[in-house]
């Protein structure tokens, strides 16, 4: 028997918004420690990794490990039926082929439940090693979202380069070129408004703007975003989800056009 109760159902709504651009369907792996989701997009250049800890839920019970293959489009439809301050409970039997979503209005007047069919998905799971990154950049998520949106007007790909001076986002395209430089900030009242750069070595990598833009769909989840980079490994874009967990996007760097 699996049961997870979340007082803020809006969190799950935001998570779905954050992944449904990249993924059509995904497997939610439920275990005693929490809910994990890992999936690659169709083109296999980016990877979404979602981790929701069991402690983050208001009530969590998972007797046996459970893999729920879910069509994210259908789940979005169901989540749209929930009010923003509804309390949500996800339920499934062991070896079940359906999952039930129960939404309760705050004053318990309205209780609605939706049952959704599960799918059998055959997705390969990748082991992601813990890596020490050369650069770890923390910036306000709204700022990052703005930069990605602005730069994607100019070119299809952008170069993120991190040096002692700060972090630079640059792109070039048909209209011209664009550069945004962010320097480390000191003396800020709130930590989430600060720009914090921890750098061991300078790194410069090229990424597809459209993917970065898809990642910024997670902006409502967290005021701050963390970018981790090392040369020749995928970029990690991480959004913390309150004290429930995190969502991480991995994006492979673009390779320089090879001369044949």
């Amino acid at each position: 028997m699996f049961e997870a109760r979340l007082v803020q159902s809006s969190i799950l709504k935001k998570i779905l918004e954050a992944i449904k651009d990249l993924l059509n369907e995904a497997t939610f792996e439920c275990s005693a420690s929490g809910i994990q989701l890992q999936a690659m997009d169709n083109s296999h250049v980016s990877l979404v990794s979602l981790n929701l800890k069991s402690d983050g839920f208001d009530k969590y019970r998972c007797d046996r490990n459970l893999s729920m293959g879910i069509n994210l489009g259908s789940m979005t439809k169901i989540m749209k039926c929930a009010g923003n301050d509804d309390v949500m409970t996800m339920k499934a039997q062991d070896n079940a082929d359906t999952v039930t979503f129960v939404f309760e209005s705050p004053n318990q007047e309205k209780v609605s439940d939706y049952e959704m069919k599960l799918m059998n998905l055959d997705q390969e799971q990748l082991g992601i090693p813990e890596t020490d990154y050369s650069c770890v950049i923390k910036i306000p998520s709204a700022e990052f979202s703005r930069i990605c949106r602005d730069l994607s007007q100019f070119g299809e790909s952008m170069i993120i380069s991190c040096s002692k001076e700060g972090v630079k986002f640059s792109t070039a395209g048909d209209i011209g070129s664009a550069n945004v430089k962010l320097a480390q900030t000191y003396n800020v009242d709130k930590e989430e408004e600060a720009i914090i750069i921890e750098m061991q070595e300078p790194v410069s990598l090229n990424f597809a703007c459209r993917y970065l833009n898809s990642f910024t769909k997670a902006t409502p989840l967290s005021p701050q975003v963390q970018l981790c980079m090392s040369s020749d490994v995928p970029l990690v874009v991480e959004y913390k989800i309150g004290d429930v967990g995190y969502i991480r996007y991995y994006l492979a760097p673009k390779i320089e056009e090879e001369d044949n």
């Binding site: 651009d21 990249l22 690659m40 997009d41 169709n42 083109s43 296999h44 250049v45 980016s46 990877l47 390969e124 799971q125 990748l126 082991g127 992601i128 090693p129 299809e156 790909s157 990424f207 597809a208 703007c209 459209r210 993917y211 898809s214 490994v233 995928p234 991995y250 994006l251 492979a252 760097p253 673009k254 390779i255 056009e257 044949n260």
Partner: protein
Amino acid sequence: MKKKHDTTNKTVPSNTMVFISNEINFSQISKDTPSHLEIIKLRHPRTEKSTNFMYDSDKGTIQEILKFSEMNRSWFIGDTVVSEGNVHLVTPVDPLFLILPYLNKNKMFSTLDQLIHDDEYNDSAKLECLVDEDQLSLISYKKDCSGLIVWKYSEEKTLQWLKTKVIKVANILEQKNINVNSECAVSKTFVRTVKESQENYLRYAHGIISEYLKDEISEKLLVHLNLPSVKSICTKKRKNNELDSEEIKKLRKDYEKDKLNIDVLQANTQTEKTTKKNSKHVALAKAAAGTKNISSFFKKK
């Protein structure tokens, strides 16, 4: 229209064949000058069997040879009897059809001469001078690597190209009022009162085009043309036979309605929803070009 080999000669060589053609001017061919016409063996685009084609090096065209054979027939040519009484019809064929199977087989960008290289059929190299780049672009992606032009098969482009071919053939069939009903034969003088449906024309035209296509492409083309596969129609028919006439009428109405709805739906969804959704996916896939595969960085569990 009827032209033959060597009508002036009194004695006719024993290996004489009779050709009928709209396109080739046989009178230009004389015995002394070497002929620009040549019969070459190539793979048939559908069956891959050895097939004769007529290659015209002057005009750079290729024609297929259709043999009409009948028992007990001979030709009088001049004063001689030629015992081989077959009629060979020579009609032009789009060289892309002959290149398509080679292109389809090769999954990598290659130059044209590499693509059409065939150990068994050396004449396949002649196909190279029959097509220009614009034509090849109709069925493949082109890439120019500093002067070296390479090609790769594009299913999407090919299906689009074949679709226009099918529609053209269907229009001709309709213009010429050719009976396309597979369930009955009709005399040539029969005056049609009910117009044949567009679908039947398309289906018939698809059959004609499919003569030159591998089965798998032919099936994909059927899907691309939004024609339901024949199997589903057959089962429907069989079901209909078991029901009584009233039910059939009802079913047919429903089916017609369904089809209309489906058509409208398909048109709508295809134009709006799928394009909206697909364009997003296509754009995302496009953006992925040039990026490494993420799974190359992580180990599989």
